[in-house]
């Protein structure tokens, strides 16, 4: 049994989600090949070789993979797919974009966002915003799977797997990348942060969000997140959204400020180790999942909390 894992990277370094995805592959068992497809991606490939559990790194370095479009990557993966029992990618916007295309071209189902491996053909995945967990078995020859990164601890480094260069696939896509607007931040990445401070509509404005939550996040060394309502209202960019249809996070500490705790928000954070909620409404559903709830006005308590942290 050999598993192909598709690496998510920015040409220089692997995204941390790749490390969790390799961990899921380790749980399935067998040889693990890590595919790094990119343009001038030698640095990412070198890092890939250090990951524990990886038996071989496959590098495809060609200009057509600079934009990481689903069309080009899926064509490449399908061309390289012969002989693999499983094809895995992280359940990030990257993996969710590419992998269903791969599955359809192979005429197999995709198993989305697995949270546990029961056996080589049986996996657990959340449905209905995580209100139910389904155990599903695949009869397909190749199992195409996206992995919920918070459910698998990242593999360590220290390995030195062989690196093999592969040829690019015939270019099929007519898609052009016109540009990217990436959110710049000195803070930890939301998906990999140990502590997250998250704000909702209760903050009232983007100005309040930044004025109140940034100093708190600075003290805690935390990443910043948000509810959908806060993103829709333009307090913060879309990539801050935590939830069923945003990012799924599971930090050591999640501080929810002015967030009511709708099902869709809980879906993205209820596996956090410790949850703190600050909300002035004692009946807010967020308190049903919070380890420590503070019923209070956030405009008073957040600055107090920030100064109490010294």
């Amino acid at each position: 049994m050999t598993i192909l894992v598709i690496a998510e990277h920015d040409q220089q370094t692997l995204k941390s989600a790749t490390l969790n995805t390799v961990a899921a592959a380790v749980k399935i068992g067998g040889d693990i090949h890590l595919l790094v497809a990119g343009a001038a991606c030698a640095a990412a490939a070198a890092q890939a070789a250090t990951l524990q559990g990886v038996t071989k790194v496959l590098v495809v370095d060609a200009p057509q993979y600079a934009a990481q479009t689903a069309e080009s990557l899926a064509a490449l993966v399908v061309a390289s797919a012969g002989g693999y029992s499983h094809i895995l990618a992280p359940a990030t916007t990257f993996g969710k974009n590419v992998l269903p295309r791969v599955a359809a071209l192979l005429d197999v189902a995709q198993i989305s966002e697995i949270t546990a491996v029961e056996s080589a053909d049986t996996f657990v995945r959340p449905i209905y915003a995580g209100n139910a967990m389904a155990t599903v078995q695949s009869a397909d020859a190749v199992k195409v799977i996206t992995v919920r990164t918070t459910a698998f601890d990242a593999v360590a480094s220290g390995n030195s797997a062989p690196v093999e260069a592969l040829a690019a696939a015939a270019e099929s896509g007519a898609t052009q990348l016109l540009g990217r607007e990436l959110t710049k931040s000195e803070r930890p990445e939301l998906g990999a942060a140990k502590i997250i401070v998250s704000g909702g509509r209760g903050l009232g404005s983007g100005e309040n969000y930044h004025k109140l939550l940034e100093p708190l996040a600075d003290k805690l060394g935390a990443a910043l997140g948000a509810s959908r309502a806060a993103v829709d209202a333009g307090f913060v960019p879309n990539d801050y959204q935590v939830g069923q249809t945003g990012k799924v996070v599971a930090p050591q500490l999640y501080v929810a400020v002015g967030i009511s705790g709708a099902i869709q928000h809980l879906a993205g954070m209820k596996d956090s180790k410790v949850i703190v909620a600050i909300n002035k409404d004692p009946d807010a559903p967020i308190f049903q999942v919070a380890d420590y709830g503070l019923v209070a006005d956030l405009f008073e308590t957040v600055p107090q909390l920030e100064s109490a942290l010294g």
């Binding site: 479009t69 359809a104 189902a109 139910a132 990539d239």
Partner: protein, 249 residues
């Protein structure tokens, strides 16, 4: 230009589903059903393209049991011109839906398919991408802005790090994210008008598509319960608990 919009009938987003005691699935008896919220956004976007004179016809498609007619009527009340029901009682998985949609695309020849990014019941996030693959078309998932001009689409996508903009020739598949638009409420006159719009029914066999499920659900259970914690009196108690009890700061 014709636009095809696949709309799924799902449990309403306000409902917190319950797992059946025998572990066979979730309890759907007497549960409110609605159009998948992302599909409402998709219909709205297609109707806006029509109102802007860019699209000529908006066709809504739903695959599933007869009750999906309701979902199609909702789409038509928002402004879709007609509906197609692919009727089956078989449990449909995304690959099967994508194949049905591909067969309909062969018949209807739309220039654009606008899907939701994700159905909020199976949370699969697959169908649009699969359809694009089967049709050999470009795709733009998680769209927050769509511009169509001169046979091309320019789409801004919500990605984990921020936004990216792609441009590609039509035909193509776009899947909607939450911030693409705010769907209108269907007015009573439009709901009445929708009742008179054409609604065709076909069967998967008519489209020569094998819809047999590929994944077997062995069991469905409740997620691990989180026990509600404690309320703290003030910030000092909170900090003390975080430091000395939870030991997370």
């Amino acid at each position: 230009m014709k636009i095809l919009v696949p709309v799924k009938r799902v449990v309403d987003y306000n409902v917190k589903v319950r797992v059946k005691a025998d572990g066979s699935g979730v309890d759907l008896a007497n549960v409110k059903m609605s159009m998948n919220p992302f599909d409402e956004i998709a219909v709205e976007e297609a109707v806006r393209l029509k109102e802007a004179g860019i699209a000529s016809e908006v066709v809504a498609v739903s695959c599933g049991p007869a009750a999906c007619q309701e979902t199609l009527r909702t789409a038509m009340a928002i402004g879709a011109d007609r509906g197609i029901l692919v009727e089956t009682d078989v449990e449909l998985q995304p690959l099967a839906v994508a194949k049905l949609l591909k067969a309909l695309c062969d018949k209807e020849q739309p220039q654009l398919v606008v899907c939701g990014k994700q159905a909020i019941d199976d949370d699969a996030n697959q169908t649009g991408q699969m359809l694009a693959a089967l049709a050999g078309w470009p795709q733009a998932t998680f769209a927050s802005k769509v511009v169509v001009a001169e046979g091309k689409a320019t789409v801004t996508r919500e990605i984990d790090g921020g936004l990216e903009t792609l441009q590609f020739p039509l035909p193509a598949v776009v899947t909607t994210d939450l911030r693409l638009n705010e769907p209108r409420y269907a007015t009573l006159p439009n709901i009445m008008k929708a009742k008179k719009k054409p609604l065709d029914t076909v069967k998967p066999e008519d489209l020569a598509v094998d819809v047999a499920p590929r994944l077997k659900t062995l069991k469905v259970v409740e997620p691990a319960k989180r026990s509600a914690g404690v309320k703290v009196a003030d910030v000092a108690e909170l900090v003390n608990k975080l430091k000395n009890e939870a030991k997370v700061i």
